[in-house]
């Protein structure tokens, strides 16, 4: 017993929490938890799903709001979009008397905006007609947009092949057209579209360009809920000079609509106004509305301000985040309560072990540390598994559900540290209860 002679001389020298002590306690914690694997697993499921759902839902929400904001941004944050709208009440009365409904934005409106409002950069008027476009025997149902050359610049249209039409082509109101890529493929499956020609009614149009798919105008309609005078927009689009549209189609458009035919007289279906400074966008929109209202009896147009939509989307996202945060908090709370419940049961079950440890010299804080570490191990491993799950689920969603998801870089560490915090907070009570036990009582416990 020579080596043990010093045993009680250095008893009091033990530092309260040394690294190796913690290390061994953690290992012992793992061992105890491993003894009850299934129970430990079931205990942490709450935390696992809490953490995973927070990260996954955040990623999906972030992705959705990113997509919405991208769409709105594509409309241009400096733009104001005016659209002709058939006034709803006038509808019934006037169709009984006169056959033709007349409404919407006019060339005079555009001229007035250009002349009176300062800071207005570009105005792009457009006419939209829905019709069949033919190429030999192939036919496509499409929206034909009559517009101006600088439309391409304003809407960030990029070309896949060929070019957009020019000012001189518009002045001469030539029959040239630009197709979107899907339509080009539909009509010209084998040969290049540029240089070919398509037919609308009795007129032929020469194809001078094909635009890239992501810059189509249909995105706009989607972003705005497709409120286009009641008619749904076609999935294909073709662009021709505004003058050509005016000369070939005339002012009166015939609309096929569920069996009956309606005639409408609309000069312009849409106009996009670009304001040079972003701060002025909202104010300018109000001035334009004033200006337009002054010369009309009824409201036959709508104003869409993408910047406002963007702000609205941001507000929606904030609300979404608050809701998500509460769900996360609740699920982690539930997970924490689950852990606490099991730890209380564990402490009762291991009363005798506690008594033994106390008899062999464990201090109260040794017992606290032991059980607290077990709880923290539980919640941290739950948090870790949750993070892995929460990061992989969005990847799967992206792959199989074709949705954009964005994992914000701070969400996994945040969710993990909250789970660790939950473990600590909910572990304290059971651990303290274990430490408070009277050693004699604990040893007598069966």
């Amino acid at each position: 017993m020579s080596g043990t002679e010093t045993a009680f001389n250095d008893v009091a020298l033990r530092p309260r929490l040394s690294f190796s002590y913690l290390q061994r306690t953690i290992r012992m914690g793992f061992r105890s938890l491993w003894t009850h694997r299934l129970r430990s697993l079931l205990t942490v499921l709450g935390i696992v799903f809490g953490v995973a759902s927070v990260i996954a839902m955040l990623a999906v929400g972030e992705g959705a709001s990113y997509e919405a904001q991208e769409q709105i941004r594509r409309l241009g944050s400096n733009n104001i979009i005016l659209r002709s709208l058939k006034p709803p009440e006038e509808d019934k009365v006037s169709t009984t008397r006169s056959f033709v409904v007349e409404y919407g934005l006019t060339y005079a409106d555009i001229e007035r905006i250009r002349a009176t409002i300062p800071g207005v950069q570009v105005i792009v008027p457009a006419r939209i007609k829905r019709d069949y476009v033919w190429r030999i025997a192939r036919r496509v149902d499409c929206d034909i947009l009559g517009t101006v050359p600088w439309y391409a610049e304003l809407h960030d249209v990029t070309m896949q092949q060929g070019r957009y039409f020019t000012t001189s082509e518009m002045k001469r109101s030539l029959n040239v057209c630009v197709l979107d890529s899907a339509m080009a493929y539909e009509l010209f499956p084998l040969d290049p579209a540029v240089g070919g020609s398509v037919r609308v009614g009795r007129e032929y149009y020469r194809v001078i360009g094909v635009m890239k798919p992501e810059t189509r105008q249909a995105d706009e309609a989607a972003a705005q809920g497709g409120s286009n005078g009641g008619s749904t927009s076609a999935s294909y689009q073709m662009y021709i000079p505004l003058t050509a549209a005016k000369n070939r189609f005339g002012e009166t458009l015939l609309k096929r609509r569920s069996g009956s035919i309606e005639a409408e007289k609309v000069e312009l279906h849409q106009a996009t106004v670009r304001v040079s400074r972003q701060e002025d966008v909202v104010e300018t929109a109000a001035i334009i509305a004033d200006l337009l209202d002054r010369v009309r009896k009824k409201k036959d147009y709508e104003i869409v301000v993408p910047l406002e939509l963007l702000r609205q989307a941001e507000r929606t996202k904030q609300i979404f985040n608050v809701v998500l945060g509460s769900i996360a908090a609740i699920s982690l709370l539930v997970g924490g309560i689950g852990i606490m419940n099991i730890m209380l049961a564990t402490v009762t079950e291991r009363t005798r072990e506690i008594g033994i440890r106390r008899a062999l010299g464990a201090k109260r804080h040794d017992i606290v540390v032991q059980f607290l570490i077990e709880t923290v191990i539980l919640s941290c491993s739950g948090g870790l598994v949750g993070v892995v799950l929460g990061v992989s689920v969005p990847l799967l969603i992206e792959r199989f559900a074709n949705m954009v998801t964005i994992i914000t870089p701070w969400s996994p560490p945040l969710a993990f540290s909250i789970s660790a915090l939950v473990g600590t907070v909910f572990g304290i009570y059971p651990a303290v209860r274990a430490a408070r036990m009277d050693p004699v009582e604990a040893l007598r416990h069966e």
């Binding site: 043990t4 002679e5 045993a7 003894t35 033994i356 062999l360 010299g361 109260r364 040794d366 004699v440």
Partner: protein, 229 residues
């Protein structure tokens, strides 16, 4: 056998209050034990033997009276200090072995060293040494449920020895064992005493008491006889 007094009890009482009823488990016990003694504590069931042993083992505090261990008065110490004394100066052997089920033999033996804060390597070496001393060197990595009762009690003895205690306190150490393994355990204890360990043991068995040097008999919480063999 001559030696220094290491334990001195003076008029120690222990009273449990259960609602309105007061149970006097010990009523004024005055005893002293010297270094190297081998003492049996006997008496009918409920006379306060275990209570006395728990007080001696610093697991409980007396309701009144003085308790001196190794020359220092203990009634003023706080819970942490009592833990330190249990950790460094006392060894316990229980009737029901009281090993920790999820730890293996060597780890069970090393528990007191762990609470002393000894380095892991050192405590494993010491634990292995003591396992060998009780004849368990083949079983170092077995868990308690893989051992017989006698083997478990030997683990408990090694655990009680590993911190080189001033006193070993045993509460009916052979109570759960058949006579063969009981004898085995008792001979280990005899050897320990021969090597100079102080042993205080609660027992019901007169034959066991005969092996010891001194027999203290209790009745209703009072010492009724205290004789040297």
């Amino acid at each position: 056998m001559p030696g220094d007094v290491i334990i001195r009890l003076e008029n120690v009482t222990k009273t449990y209050t259960m609602g309105a009823v007061e149970v006097h488990a010990l009523r004024g016990v005055t005893l002293s034990f010297t270094q190297g003694e081998y003492v049996s504590i006997m008496g009918p069931s409920g006379c306060g033997k275990s209570t006395l042993l728990n007080l001696l083992g610093c697991l409980d505090r007396p309701s009144a009276g003085r308790y001196e261990l190794g020359g220092s008065e203990l009634s003023l110490l706080d819970d942490d200090m009592l833990s330190e004394i249990r950790c460094g100066r006392l060894g316990f052997i229980f009737q029901s072995y009281n090993l920790i089920p999820q730890l293996n033999v060597i780890e069970n033996i090393g528990v007191p060293l762990y609470y002393q804060g000894r380095p892991e390597r050192e405590s494993l070496e010491m634990a292995a040494e003591f396992a060998e001393r009780v004849g368990l060197s083949e079983r170092l990595h077995h868990r308690p449920y893989e051992l017989s009762g006698g083997q478990q009690q030997r683990v408990a003895i090694a655990r009680a020895l590993v911190n080189d205690p001033l006193v070993i306190l045993a509460d009916e150490p052979t109570g759960n064992l058949d006579s063969a393994s009981g004898t085995e355990i008792l001979s280990i204890l005899d050897d320990l005493n021969k090597q100079g360990k102080t042993l205080i043991m609660v027992t019901h068995d007169e034959h066991i008491a005969d092996r010891s040097m001194r027999v203290v008999r209790l009745r209703d919480g009072e010492v009724v006889s205290d004789v040297w063999n």
